[in-house]
Symmetry: C2
DNA sequence: CGCTGCGTTGAGCTTCTTCAACGATCGTGG
DNA sequence: CCACGATCGTTGAAGAAGCTCAACGCAGCG
C-alpha cells in the first residue's frame, strides 16, 4: 500500500527496520481534513502527534481580539505537535488545514515505546526538535529586531532558496496568511510590497514575485533602513 | 566531590546509573566566567553544550544596530545550547554570564554516545527541548500579539508563581535586562511600571514589586487595554 | 447576477522608539 | 573615608512605524 512508501520517505522515520515500519503502520491512523477545517485547538489534550501526508497545515496562536500569529506552515512529510507528546501537556497552539489535507496520527503511548526501543528514532526526533527551536529563534529575532520590510525581504530570499535560487518566486500561501506569518497585517504587507516595487527591488504580479535587486533585499533583510 | 552531587541534582541527568554518572563526570569540563564575560558568540561552532552550575546566563540575539533580544535566562541546573549538538550546526545566538558563573561543558561526541546508550537520557532531553519549544511559542505570542503593558503584566504574574505565589516579587535581573527579555527598551518599561503604579495595579520599590490588583494584571496579560 | 473572499489604497491615530538630560547608586582608587 | 566615574533607572519631548477603520476593485463561484 502507498502508506508504507510514504512512511519510508519521512525523514523522521529514517533508519527504522522493516518490522519497525510495520509496527509503526499498526499504531497510526489516517485523518482527512477539508480546506479550512480545524485539526486541533490550543488547550486540547495532546494525545499524540501528526505527520502531514498531503496538503498544507498551519500552526498558529490567537489573541483575544482575534489577531493571529502563524508559528509554522507544514507540508507533506513534516511532523507537527510533537512537543506536546514529550511533556504530556495540552497543545500549546491551534492547527488548521489550509488546503484539503491528509495526516497520519501517532498516539503518544505507542510512539514512546517505539522511540525507547530505537536510538535512531530518538536521534531523529532530537534533531527535528532542535531544528524547530532554531526556526523559532529566528522568528523571534525577526519579530523583535527587524522592521516589517526587513521581514518581507528576508522571507522573499528564503522562498528563493527554497525554490532553487530562482529569481522568480511563487507564494504558496495567500497574502493574508503571509502577513500573519510575518507578524503583521495584510494592509501593511500590501503597502510594503508596493513600496519595494517602486524602489525597483522586486516586481510583483499577484502571487508571482520577481527579485530584481538581490543585494538590495539582502541589505534590507539585515536591518538596513528602507 | 561536590561536582557529583551537583550532577545528581540536574533534572536532565535523572535516571542515570552510578557508573553512567562516573562516565559523565569523565567527559565534562568546568568553566568559570566573570560577570559580563562572553561564553560563546552566534556563529561559533557548536562542539558541545553547557549546564549552569552557579550564576546566571543569558542567551540573546543582536541586531546590526546593536539592539538586543534575550531568548532565555538560565540559572543553576539548567542546560543551554543543546540544540546545536543535535543538528551539528553553529550556535544560533550569543551567550553571556550575567553574574560570576560556573558551567559544565559537555562535548558533543561523547554525549551523543551516552545518549544512545540511555533511553532515559534521551527522553529527558526530548522533554527538555519540548519545554524549550513551548516557552519559545509563548514568547512569540507575547511579542506578536500583546502590547508591552500586557507583557509586563504577564511577566509579573509569572514571577509571582515562580516565587511561591507571593504578592511581593523580586526581580532577579536588572530592568534593562528585563526590558530586553520583554522585547522593549528600558525607557518604555520604566514608563509602563510607573503607569501601572498610578493605576493602583502594583506598587514598586526598586527591584521589589508588589501586586496590588491581581485580577487587573491578569486582564492586562490577556490582552485588555490599559 | 449577485455574493463572498481577497487584495489594495487612503486617512487618522496609537503605540512605541529615539534623543536628550538628569538623579541615584555602587564600586573603586586616591 | 571620600570623591569620582560608570552604570542604571527615570523622565520629557518629538518623531516614526505600523495599526485601525473605511471604502473600493476584482475574481471566483454558486
Amino acid at each position: 500500500m502507498e502508506l508504507m512508501s510514504f512512511l519510508k520517505q519521512v525523514p523522521l522515520f529514517a533508519g527504522l527496520t522493516a518490522p519497525q515500519y510495520d509496527e509503526l503502520a499498526m499504531i497510526i491512523t489516517l485523518q482527512d481534513y477539508a480546506r479550512g477545517q480545524s485539526i486541533f485547538a490550543e488547550g486540547d489534550p495532546g494525545t499524540g502527534f501528526y505527520v502531514v501526508m498531503e496538503g498544507l497545515v498551519k500552526i498558529y496562536k490567537l489573541s483575544i481580539e482575534g489577531k493571529e500569529q502563524i508559528l509554522h506552515i507544514f507540508g507533506p512529510g513534516e511532523p507537527f505537535a510533537e512537543a506536546a507528546v514529550f511533556i504530556g501537556s495540552t497543545f500549546p497552539a491551534h492547527a488548521l488545514a489550509l488546503e484539503k489535507s491528509r495526516t497520519i496520527f501517532i498516539p503518544r503511548h505507542a510512539f514512546i515505546e517505539l522511540i525507547q526501543a530505537n536510538p535512531a528514532l530518538a536521534m531523529n526526533m532530537l534533531a527535528a526538535l532542535s531544528m524547530r527551536l532554531k526556526k523559532f529563534a529566528h522568528l523571534i529575532e525577526d519579530l523583535s529586531l527587524k522592521e516589517v520590510p526587513g521581514r518581507v525581504a528576508a522571507h522573499l530570499l528564503y522562498l528563493s532558496t527554497q525554490q532553487g535560487d530562482s529569481d522568480t518566486v511563487k507564494l504558496n500561501i495567500g497574502k493574508a496568511q503571509l502577513a500573519s506569518l510575518l507578524g503583521t497585517i495584510p494592509e501593511t504587507l500590501s503597502r510594503i510590497l508596493s513600496k519595494l516595487g517602486k524602489q525597483g527591488l522586486i516586481s510583483s504580479d499577484g502571487p508571482q514575485i520577481t527579485i530584481l535587486d538581490r543585494d538590495g533585499l539582502e541589505d534590507l533583510a539585515m536591518g538596513e533602513k528602507l
